[in-house]
Symmetry: D2
Subunit: 338 residues, 4 copies
């Protein structure tokens, strides 16, 4: 089902932007694991709003309450469910969105899919707020990967096409001033990855990571290693030569393959990039339609919006990658040779 991810580390995300709560139920956590709650809080804080001048002012206390699965701070083998209460009151000012879908948003497709009962408040189940429970599931996976010596770390490589920090800052300021928004690219690197994770064909690490990362709102592209640039390279340039390093470990001189060959990890770092489109919610008047009167109308979106969601999406990309990677790790303990 669409809100569930994974085979062995399997979780289901629930909630809408203005439901009483959002949350996640996780199956597959080993019994006896003691999550580092402070580390999890710090991880969640990286995606919380109000981090800087270019993120929404909406106030959220995103600390999850663990309502099942933990006893005295340890997992007990039962599914772990964490809920995050939605503190803000449900506003009545979303009714206009019921009539006029925002360009670039899921408002229109939600209307087609779910009809008049859909939840329009704050984007409903399509809200970026749902990445908070993703970060809970991914944040716990990160801790378990860490115990196995693996790390996952993402960073912004461009915003609005700018790769220099000062130029990014300037572009953001310009977009904010204009009531406009910017997209960007986030790169994620997984270090210490065991070779042999993932499976051929549909179960490859690329397939799994892509399935997870495309669940983050606004992602429109995912590429691994050299990615789209590899399409312009020759085989003699793109192929990564193998060699034994000083410890006798087989490595590659370059990493155009991004740590994955045939869907299976090579032991080199997994490297991928996700392209985020600019936030659809902008303060500039746009063309849209009225779903009730069935006529073309102008739309101006008011309210609190991030001019650039990329700033807050970094831990979400890490969470998605960590979930996919830990799922594959659990799986490999069954099926890997040796």
């Amino acid at each position: 089902m669409s809100n569930s991810f994974g085979q062995r580390y399997r979780f289901t995300i629930f909630g809408q932007s203005h439901a009483p709560a959002i949350g996640v139920t996780i199956e597959g956590l080993p019994s006896g694991f003691a999550p580092d709650i402070e580390a999890l809080a710090a991880f969640l804080a990286r995606r919380a709003p109000g981090q800087g001048k270019y993120t929404t002012a909406r106030r959220e206390a995103d600390m999850p309450e663990f309502v099942s699965g933990l006893v005295d701070g340890h997992t007990c083998g039962a599914p772990v469910t964490a809920i995050i209460r939605n503190g803000d009151a449900r506003p009545g000012d979303y009714e206009n969105l019921r009539r006029v879908p925002r360009p670039g948003h899921a408002d229109f497709t939600a209307a087609v899919k779910y009809g008049p009962s859909r939840d329009v408040a704050g984007g409903g189940q399509f809200s970026g707020r749902l990445t908070a429970p993703l970060c809970v599931a991914g944040g716990l996976a990160l801790q378990l990967l860490g115990q196995a010596g693996m790390s996952v770390s993402a960073r912004i490589v461009s915003i609005g096409g700018q790769t220099d920090p000062a130029a990014m800052e300037k572009a953001l300021a310009g977009a904010k001033q204009a009531g406009d928004s910017l997209g960007g690219v986030i790169e994620c690197v997984c270090q210490g990855v065991f070779p042999g994770l993932g499976e051929p064909m549909f179960g490859g690490m690329e397939n799994r990571i892509a399935q997870a990362v495309f669940a983050i709102p606004a992602v429109k592209g995912v590429e691994f290693g050299a990615g789209f640039a590899a399409a312009s390279m020759k085989g003699s340039e793109n192929n990564d030569p193998f060699y034994f390093d000083e410890l006798g470990v087989i490595r590659t001189r370059t990493n155009h393959h991004g740590g994955i060959l045939g869907g299976i990890t090579s032991g080199m770092p997994i490297v991928f990039r996700a392209a985020f489109k600019p936030t659809p919610s902008i303060g500039i008047e746009q063309d849209s339609v009225d779903l009730i009167s069935r006529e073309n109308v102008k739309l101006t979106v008011a309210g609190r919006h991030d001019p650039c969601i990329v700033l807050r999406a970094v831990p979400c990309v890490e969470a998605a990658a960590a979930a996919a990677l830990y799922d594959a790790l659990l799986e490999s303990r069954c099926t890997q040779w040796i």
Copy 2:
């Protein structure tokens, strides 16, 4: 499991390059469907080798034998299994690959994952030959989508970074002469798509298509609509304005969203691109390792190879997209509002 795809249109691909057969078992075909076998053969012929001077000379008669699920040319409700016999004898000249993995190939990761019993002949289960059963499953899905008024059509947009046909041809000739290889980019467009297909979050059409497309060997990136270019656009540029067309259908003026918003189809054409790395098998000497003697060695790959797999991959991309789309179509008949 890794060789299976889909929820409602679910198929499992089996076989290795030099096993007695490769094939696919498909569950979810409606009862009473009469596949157009000639159309399927024509579709498969587009990916078969020997299509031009830049594809491998290996001779394959890729027509599937339907061993179950069809009675008098119609599906009967039972799973449909098609097998394709591997006519070529299994060569003994792959033994070197058991020792020395080819850079850029799955040889190394297969060794890690499956140990000494792995099938090294012709790439074993990682062979591009396994895209033939993918094209059987996808080709049948295409026919059923066609009955519903949908089409899926892919084309090459670049090879070796060249977008002009003459320049592509020249680049291919140069690569062949040099014993080198080239990658490329394939764009796929799905027309006539019903709005409302796909699900939020992990079940989005982007997630599903990406999961299918990354199963094609050599794919290293997938982007939808404006894709990575969207990351450099402003919201006011990237947002696609809605309007009612002359028939009263809601459409968008531009299609930067590639027909998918919030994971769900908007009714605009689905547009995506897949980046293919250059074929790893090249005739140029490369650095590798000997897995037995555990020393660095030089490798020169002999044998029949495509200097550019992109030429044959076009129907594979269509097949992957069709499988994902038809799966979502079957699913929507259950869960869609109305």
Copy 3:
């Protein structure tokens, strides 16, 4: 995963007997459905304790709080999550169970499976209390089945081997007095079932209902139609003759097949029976082992216990059947001929 059930109506149950909460997340509910909360409460009340003199005195206010998926009383297309707070304080008097597993209980297998971090309080995740969220998921399915003209109704057919109500009552009184417990058999009948639900082989209605019903603690057997009695019949006795009834509907004169042939519903009522073993928790001294000191010991279980869980299990059986049936109903809307 083990706490999840279903393909199209898919839910995941979470919680332990003394966790902060138990609950369920449901995917697959149609958008726009308005659950009858009072009817659901009445349904849940049938499994709640304190119903009569033979059920535990533990006080539970089992009304679920819907924290996601409902807007103004209607489903919105997002997953529905309901949580039930565990009001009773977590007692410290379960520590003995950490050392000495109760015969007939999951205490021992929980220790093997989950180790020292397992939740022993009140049976942890193995508690019969987890049937409350099952009844939430099943109770909503019942309402949707009702809209389609189907009903599910279970009743007790025997307790302690007695089929006469007066004899059951007497047996219960005797068991309670002796500190002992009794099992029983529950029969469930589904009326108004569409023909054509279910699938062949592993997806048969028998397989699905059995998978759901065996999730209810203490169930040790499931039989359909004539069940085990059919094994003693001749084909000429057991076969159910077909005929056209006065409305031109094909029916069978008898219903030894219990409404299911080849895994698929025939349109006759689905009839099945579930055997419940006697509640393992009894007041009589028993032989057990001390897992710490590793010696044979005597165990006397104190505390609140049902002498017969069968009295409260009737709606649980209905819930399990309804969940399996509604799941098959949603599925058939995709794949059934016509």
Copy 4:
């Protein structure tokens, strides 16, 4: 999907009674496993027809051809596909069954589910012949369980209500003479089972074994340990006392729980029984309906039939149990504590 079973040892069965072939694709076999083909043949021979005077005379050479997944007699990590050609020509004498469904058979429900294109020849996909590929998948699982010290062994405990071999024989002779058929009960015992296999709730060993066993045609009931008899016992009788045996292993004095507590194996033998209804195909005239003329008619079934399928079903029950058990074994290697 309905023809697929398992999570980690996952297989899909395909084919119909008179399709060109039947077969199975298995994912999850470890790489490097060398199946004992002779042992598998001997196992399959136990379910083949023509074993005695009470089984059908239809001649089948049921030896599977392994078309993928094996290299030089060893699994290579790719899915294993085995096909069994259907040697007998497809008869034209099944056309009457297209009009008049046999009482007790899936003929009627197949017509409802799959419409006029359904395969009626020999029962199509509902044929007991499909248990041959089940025995391939289960037979390989049995060998792998054997390597882990586990065994699975089934036997007939009653036929036509008779438990004495001489009485069974007499009942069979009487049924054959009368053109009638008999059912029976098969008991299956799994020895050497590790404690800790299976999961709580829907993933319990009872749920999994039941899901597999109900896939065998004619099974109408499954019970574990004391099963339905437990419903008439007191807790003090049914509870199995724990003790340390002479080797310090925790065991139970009795095994009313059938080796499973809370869905998880206790280390005691798994014991279950399956009830088989009498074969529906009998030589005696029966009442049925004509689906075309829509009138009540008489039906006399000609052709080759087993008067008692139970004789051939013993290895099928073993195969179903072995598949479920091996699947749980692979799973436990991921998730079990320690």
